[in-house]
């Protein structure tokens, strides 16, 4: 379990996170949502240790991330998989080399063993015949799959995704969402997804944290969103007419 207690982060005296507390459980797709500038990315970067918070505790299965030294933090990070918004694939490496990279760095496996593992994860993300291609030679959706494959190649305990389906068409976005959810269940990981996409939230958001102005304004599941009276989340979710209709349909169905 990842526990976050009273997380506070500021930049040049301007508070961005103002005492956020929550927990993320194993085998669940946890989502962080909120408007632009609400502190989602800063929150995710604090979880990853890329930002050091001014106050608060982040604990990964009892290990307090905020109290670890650099070496221990690097050790913990080897248990983390991350899918970046733009993929963050290494341009000079092929798809195969990109995925093999963490294996080369942290294992003593032979080349054939590493290749076997790479092919296994590529198959898992439904990507074939792309081994020798460079990131610039494949589509955005394929790059996301490669990024997911690289994130899970070391069997991580924790998976973080920053806007995993931004810039993708609705079909591919759904495929990527389902893939993340399947992998989360299969490997019993703790998955935290930072997203703007309400389709994703409704599709796979088993636990949703809504941030507003650096404060946790609401927490619940995708089912509970339809029933909540919380003004902040209602304003955010139902800014689209489509979701108003979805809500009406859902409530009629469950009457």
């Amino acid at each position: 379990m990842i526990e976050v207690k009273d997380l506070y982060k500021e930049f040049n005296g301007t508070p961005v996170l103002k005492g956020v507390s929550t927990t993320f459980e194993k085998g669940k797709t946890n989502m962080i949502i909120g408007q632009s500038g609400s502190g989602k990315t800063v929150f995710l970067k604090c979880l990853l240790g890329l930002h050091i918070p001014e106050k608060g505790i982040i604990s990964f299965d009892g290990r307090k991330h905020t109290e670890l030294d650099i070496k221990e933090r690097r050790q913990l990070r080897q248990e983390i998989g991350m899918v970046f918004q733009g993929g963050a694939l290494y341009d000079s490496l092929t798809v195969e080399e990109n995925i093999m990279f963490p294996l080369k760095m942290f294992t003593d496996n032979s080349y054939s063993e590493m290749l076997e593992r790479v092919n296994f994860v590529l198959d898992r993300v439904n990507l074939e015949n792309a081994n020798k291609k460079f990131p610039s030679e494949i589509s955005g959706g394929m790059q996301k799959r490669v990024s997911i494959a690289r994130a899970i190649v070391m069997n991580p305990k924790y998976l973080f995704c920053d806007e995993p389906n931004s810039g993708l068409d609705p079909n591919t976005a759904t495929v990527i969402d389902n893939l993340i959810q399947e992998i989360t269940k299969e490997y019993q990981m703790i998955t935290v997804i930072n997203s703007h996409d309400m389709n994703s939230v409704m599709e796979i958001g088993e636990k949703i944290i809504f941030l507003k102005n650096g404060v946790k304004a609401w927490e619940g599941s995708n089912k509970e969103i339809f029933k909540t009276e919380n003004e902040s989340i209602v304003d955010f979710v139902y800014s689209s007419n489509l979701f108003k209709k979805v809500k009406e349909a859902y409530l009629n169905e469950t009457k």
Partner: protein, 246 residues
Amino acid sequence: MNYLEHIGKYFIMLKQVFKKPQKWSVFKEMLFREIEDLGLKSLGIIMFISFFVGGVVAIQTALNVDSPFIPKYLIGFATKRSMILEFAPTFMCVILAGKVGSYISSSIGTMRVTEQIDALEVMGINSLNYLVLPKIIATLFFYPLLILLAMFLGIYGGYVAGTLTDLFFSEDYVYGIQLDFNPYFIKYALIKTLVFAFVIATIPAYHGYYVKGGSLEVGRASTQAVVWTSVVIILLNYFLTQMLLG
């Protein structure tokens, strides 16, 4: 940010760079790649420039030495001295600061703005050590060889220029380059080259690594890297000359 802050941040960066590589096999692979990118790929431009600079130095010396009391072998002597002492180590390193410096800064800067450096850090990799240390070792190892080649080609360029223009006899030139040979000058040039190689690898890496923003900022960082690397090379050249020859 003021200059002192930059200098402090630069040395903090170096502290992270000089750590034991996390995996020697990966480090070796990176080192060979950097030797190719930063060294071998600069071979052509260094050979071309040093050959013609040597030629120009010889021609200009010949044209300015018109007194019958000054021996013609002085042309070879002056070309040799200026190539070994200044043109090969300093001039070539300023050229390398432009070519390699902008490459290092823009490649690391692009990795920063496309979150590739964050991806390394999230994996638990010391990104500074992984990206910068192989560059330092590659330049320290390869640039002295490159500068020795530049010295040779510069002196040879002078010889070719003289024989093609008939401004001096090749025998005089060869006598001049053999006259009063001091091996310490080669040592002095190589010490300067090692210092400049370190500067060429680290200052652009600093500018690229800490870039914030997008492609425009990467471009700016690249320009700044070349400017500061050249400035530091010129300043260090002054102090090293004073220390080693003064």
